[in-house]
Symmetry: C2
Subunit: 239 residues, 2 copies
């Protein structure tokens, strides 16, 4: 079985919610076994092909999603084409609950993605009967807000090298819950995605990686990087 965080694996689509590997980390953890059965009845296990969209900016939101594997890029574009990636959703993350008719951003699968899909209306109706689930969603929302606020500091006040170091340590921390704790970090997204996430250009990201290699902080490996001096990278990120 592949350990790649962005490949669809057999374990991601269990027969029942009860057996779902991401349940403890997802909103579903707010429900007991009986309620899980009800939720399961509303859910549609879905495979999303690489590069296809789960949500489209300014388009009506028909579905909400619970990501079960893979990596989803969330981005906003300006009318002249400038793009800002506002986040990456991974297993356990919940997508689409904005209480607005139209989506504020585009969500696209980077590699293969699996997710539980819900009709938005049905999900909202179910929500009205499950206060604990609403409470859990509130905690998720507050957490996303905290991450966005940290990203505001990064975009507003940090240098290119600090942004890249921050990005690498942040990604490592997020993967830790799935056991990926080694010195190797998979980077499922392209340099362009990273640049658009960090408010930089692809050239600056590339140059910064190269500098970090020269400084013996990381080495670049296929589809990712390997930390050589994790402590020092963390120090640059913390600053």
């Amino acid at each position: 079985m592949s350990a790649d965080c962005c490949e669809s694996t057999g374990q991601s689509h269990p027969a029942r919610c009860k057996d779902c590997a991401v349940r403890p980390f997802s909103v579903c953890a707010a429900l007991n076994d009986d309620e899980l059965g009800e939720l399961q009845a509303l859910s549609e296990p879905t495979s999303v092909a690489p590069k296809s969209a789960l949500l489209l900016q300014d388009e009506p939101v028909q579905n909400v999603f619970n990501v079960t594997s893979g990596c989803v890029r969330l981005s906003k574009i300006l009318s002249d084409g400038r793009r800002q990636v506002i986040g990456f959703a991974i297993a356990g993350d919940f997508l689409g609950l904005s209480f607005q008719d139209r989506s504020n951003f585009t969500a696209e699968a980077i590699g293969p993605v699996t997710a539980c899909r819900f009709r938005k209306k049905a999900f909202l109706n179910y929500l009205d009967t499950k206060p604990d689930l609403v409470r859990r969603l509130l905690e998720f929302s507050a957490n996303e807000l905290r991450l966005a606020q940290e990203q505001l500091v990064l975009l507003g006040r940090r240098t290119a090298e600090e942004r890249v170091a921050s990005f690498l340590t942040m990604l490592r921390a997020r993967n830790s819950r799935f056991g990926h704790q080694g010195a190797t970090l998979q980077l499922p997204m392209s340099r362009l995605d990273i640049a658009d996430y960090l408010g930089l250009t692809i050239e600056t990201v590339s140059r910064t990686f190269t500098k970090m290699v020269r400084d013996k902080l990381i080495i670049i490996v296929p589809d990712g990087i390997r930390f050589v001096d994790l402590a020092h990278v963390g120090q640059i990120a913390a600053e």
Copy 2:
């Protein structure tokens, strides 16, 4: 009676929640009259002096707040002193519900501020009995997340002039619910606050204002600006 959005006015501390002017815009709108009475019993009407703090970054959160008048600056600082203002809270905004023990940011009154204060524990306990209030908080949280995501685009991808134009139109839109719809816009915060909010320096903000005056887009008045060509400012902001 002063129309300044950041001055304490008599109407801000009504005897009863029922009569509160900001209720329709705040989380309290989720409660009926009986419930309002319960909430009122938990609330402590509070006046906050200019420059004093409601929340301190990295310190335990004892209270949560419902702002009823004035303007509160939310900011995060890095260890070397760089500061990012992550938002401004005005009447109707709710502060402090992060589900974390310690605050992620500092919240300081810019001018005089009034707010309903709640002990965090008591408020959380009350929440457990009021699903509609949780639901309302979720909507507020989702809305704040949306604003933060738009700010990510601003900080990551927009020029100085676009940032300033966006800031002015955004502030105007937020004030509109309180009837401040004229061409004059009060700016309760300093140039430094604006700079730290927009990821710029105070000099760049000042130069950009000057340029916009030269271009006949705005004129600068005491404690604010006046729109001369609102449509054009909006166009620069939209881009």
